[in-house]
């Protein structure tokens, strides 16, 4: 006798495996498309040299437990994907700096940001980012919210964001913020508006 739970479980997993496969296939397709794009652009000029553009970063502040918009210059880039990566790199530099309003661990990096149509951005963090991140609901939520808001408000068309760590799905950032889900930008907007006012 095979327990019915098991059978239905397997059936559901089969469907899930198919849809996950389709999702990854879709992602691979988009990656394949985006790589030649990257090759066509010139190497990014180092910050401070060459043309740049002004963007708005949404910076987490631990003292108030909220996000504050802050202007920054990033090197002008041809592709959306390069622009997305520049945005998060600039944000991280701020967090890694000496007077960081929301310190993150040394060695923390965003390995890549992949833009997958329609509207999905995949942010691939490195191990140090997650493993050494401070643990707590608010502190992790601030990191997630800041990345989502910075990307979605500067790159038109992003409406969902998925976080990976070293290319793999992870249960949570540092024990709290759920990384197994897709973050829909509208939901994160609600989360942030509570953060700005929730007293």
């Amino acid at each position: 006798m095979i327990p019915r739970h098991l059978i239905i479980g397997v059936a559901v997993m089969f469907v899930v495996a198919l849809s996950t496969g389709a999702y990854v296939w879709h992602m691979q397709g988009s990656l394949a498309k985006s790589v030649p794009d990257a090759d066509q652009t010139h190497p990014l000029p180092p910050p401070g040299n060459g043309p740049s553009e002004q963007v708005t970063l949404y910076v987490a502040h631990d003292d108030t437990g909220s996000l504050r918009p802050q202007s920054a210059q990033i090197p002008l880039s041809g592709g959306r994907q390069e622009r997305a990566e520049q945005l998060v790199k600039t944000l991280l530099q701020l967090y890694l700096g000496e007077s960081s309003p929301h310190p993150i661990a040394e060695g923390a990096e965003v390995r890549a940001v992949y833009l997958v149509d329609p509207g999905l951005a995949v942010v691939d963090l490195n191990t140090a980012f997650a493993e050494k991140h401070r643990s707590g609901i608010l502190v992790e939520e601030l990191t997630v919210a800041s990345l989502v808001q910075t990307l979605s408000s500067n790159i038109p068309g992003i409406n969902r964001i998925k976080f990976l760590v070293e290319g793999e799905e992870r249960e949570s950032l540092a024990g709290h913020a759920d990384l197994s889900r897709f973050y829909d930008v509208a939901g994160v907007d609600r989360m942030i508006s509570q953060m700005q006012t929730g007293q």
Partner: protein, 493 residues
């Protein structure tokens, strides 16, 4: 920088495994909705696929076992992935593996392996199959201690591998006093799949390292429930209870106790607890052919979940105070306060156990509480942060994942009004409070009203978190806030 070509595959693999455990409870909850005989037969073949289950203190998972030359093989990279950073590279007939700080070199068709500069001989040869390194299951007891730097226990006949001191022991005793039942106590919380058939109730443990009692056949000298047998095959343990009457199982003691009792046959209560009675297909259910687990009539007013525990320590609040300890202390204080007010309380853990988020939501949902309160502690900021779940916007659907992730959606209004009342009570006691929404599991997976509380120090010192005065203040505020919305919580459909 870019994903290498192997990355997406790795992603799929880990996603599928996660899905396995994550969807388990969802599957249990919706098992009765998706009832189809054709599905049973078309998928039974894959259900029989050979697998090896791995149990460590942090996680449990299964990998598939592939036959090769009449021997059982597993993909080594797949097996190690959940245990730490691992990379592998194929170079001609050679295969190099790096796990944490250990390096191993294998060669296709050879039994000799070089691990951390030493030669080791395997009982069967290594196989390189399309760039995947396969090792014989029987070689794991030689390879893994070298790679992991700690002893392991491999039980080859049952396809189970124990990495740390993860064994879950159990005892079974007949309770002859009314209501009579077989009481099985486990050393850690369990969440088995349960199925009944005429004359038998089976509990299958795939995620818990349940090990054999002294004897694999247990007899109870009882006419209704004469015996039970333990067996372990293909990566799972099973306890089968034989009986002269239909049985049902109920959970208590935070998932550590399962009581097997004769089902009140054909009585209205029995119908209401058997989910199979609600199959939309309208197929009549034969007596004793019911699946019971997720909707047993075990009711508690409140479920308190001290977050973290065991190997999952949570935040380090100070050099000698871990979050897991602080959350348990707050939870114990709250339970005392709830019980003083005559409100039944279930603690998800009352010791230092490692529980997965699925186990936590499983325990909470089975208890059908009026409210679930998840407790966290932080050394950052001051006072209380109250959270309700960040549920996906209405009408949004991304398939099963999100459905399970929005189990909370139906109760979110009640959760928010409970949070509002709690905030008012904290403010009355002049404890700084913020109300927020958070992408925090298992909040999303809870079907009843659910809130999370993150307690930070009151006046700035971490020592506040272990002060009994502060703990008492928090506990009193929580109970007062919940009593305030009691009527609303209980009236909830």
């Amino acid at each position: 920088m870019r994903w290498s070509s192997t990355r997406p595959r790795t992603g799929v693999w880990s996603t599928c495994n996660k899905t396995n455990s994550r969807t388990l409870d969802a599957v249990l909850a919706c098992a009765f909705i998706v009832s189809s005989a054709s599905a049973i037969f078309s998928f039974s073949a894959s259900a029989e696929e050979k697998q090896l289950s791995i149990y460590s203190s942090a996680t449990s998972y299964s990998v598939s076992v592939k036959p090769h030359d009449g021997q059982d093989y597993v993909a080594l990279l797949e097996l190690l992935q959940r245990l730490g950073p691992v990379t592998a590279k194929a170079d001609g007939s050679r295969w190099k593996l790096r796990f944490k700080n250990s390096e191993a070199q294998f060669e296709n068709g050879k039994t000799r392996v070089r691990i951390r500069g030493r030669d080791v001989n395997l009982p069967m040869s290594f196989v390189l199959d399309n760039g995947r390194g396969l090792v014989p299951v029987s070689a794991l007891s030689i390879l893994l201690p070298e790679l992991l730097g700690k002893p392991i226990t491999l039980h080859e006949p049952s396809g189970r591998l124990f990495l740390d001191n993860t064994a879950v022991h159990f005892t079974a005793q007949m309770n002859n006093a009314a209501p009579a039942g077989l009481v099985i106590n486990f050393s850690s919380p369990v969440n088995p799949m349960i199925a009944t058939e005429p004359g038998k109730l089976r509990m299958v443990f795939q995620h818990e390292a349940v090990v054999a009692p002294g004897s694999e056949i247990l007899t109870f000298g009882n006419k209704l429930i004469p015996s039970a047998t333990y067996s372990a095959t293909n990566g799972a343990a099973e306890i089968a209870v034989s009986a002269a009457v239909p049985l049902f199982a109920s959970f208590s003691n935070g998932g550590r106790t399962i009581t097997i009792s004769p089902a009140p046959q054909a009585s209205p209560t029995a119908q209401s607890v058997a989910p199979a009675a609600a199959t939309p297909s309208g197929q009549p259910q034969t007596a004793g052919n019911t699946i019971t687990n997720s909707n047993l009539p075990v009711h508690y007013f409140v479920v308190l979940d001290p977050s973290h525990g065991g190997s999952e320590r949570g935040a380090a609040l100070s050099d000698d105070l871990g979050e897991k300890t602080a959350t348990l202390n707050f939870a114990l204080r709250m339970r005392q306060e709830f019980e003083t007010h005559g409100l039944s309380t279930l603690l998800v853990r009352n010791g230092d156990e490692t529980l997965t988020l699925d186990q936590r939501s499983g325990i909470a949902n089975r208890a059908h509480p009026a409210i679930y309160v998840c407790i966290h502690a932080s050394s950052e900021g001051t006072g209380i942060r109250l959270y309700t779940a960040l549920v996906p916007a209405a009408g949004e659907s991304h398939g099963l994942f999100i459905d399970w992730n929005s189990a909370q959606a139906a109760s979110i209004d009640t959760s928010q009004s409970a949070a509002t009342n709690l905030a008012a009570e904290f403010s009355k006691r002049r404890i700084p409070t913020r109300s927020l929404v958070a992408p925090l599991r298992p909040l999303n997976n809870i079907t009843s009203a659910a809130v999370a509380i993150e307690v930070a120090p009151f006046t700035g010192g971490v020592s506040d978190l272990s002060s009994s005065g502060y703990q008492q203040q928090i506990a009193e505020s929580v109970v007062a806030g919940i009593l305030e919305v009691r009527a609303k919580l209980v009236a909830k459909p």
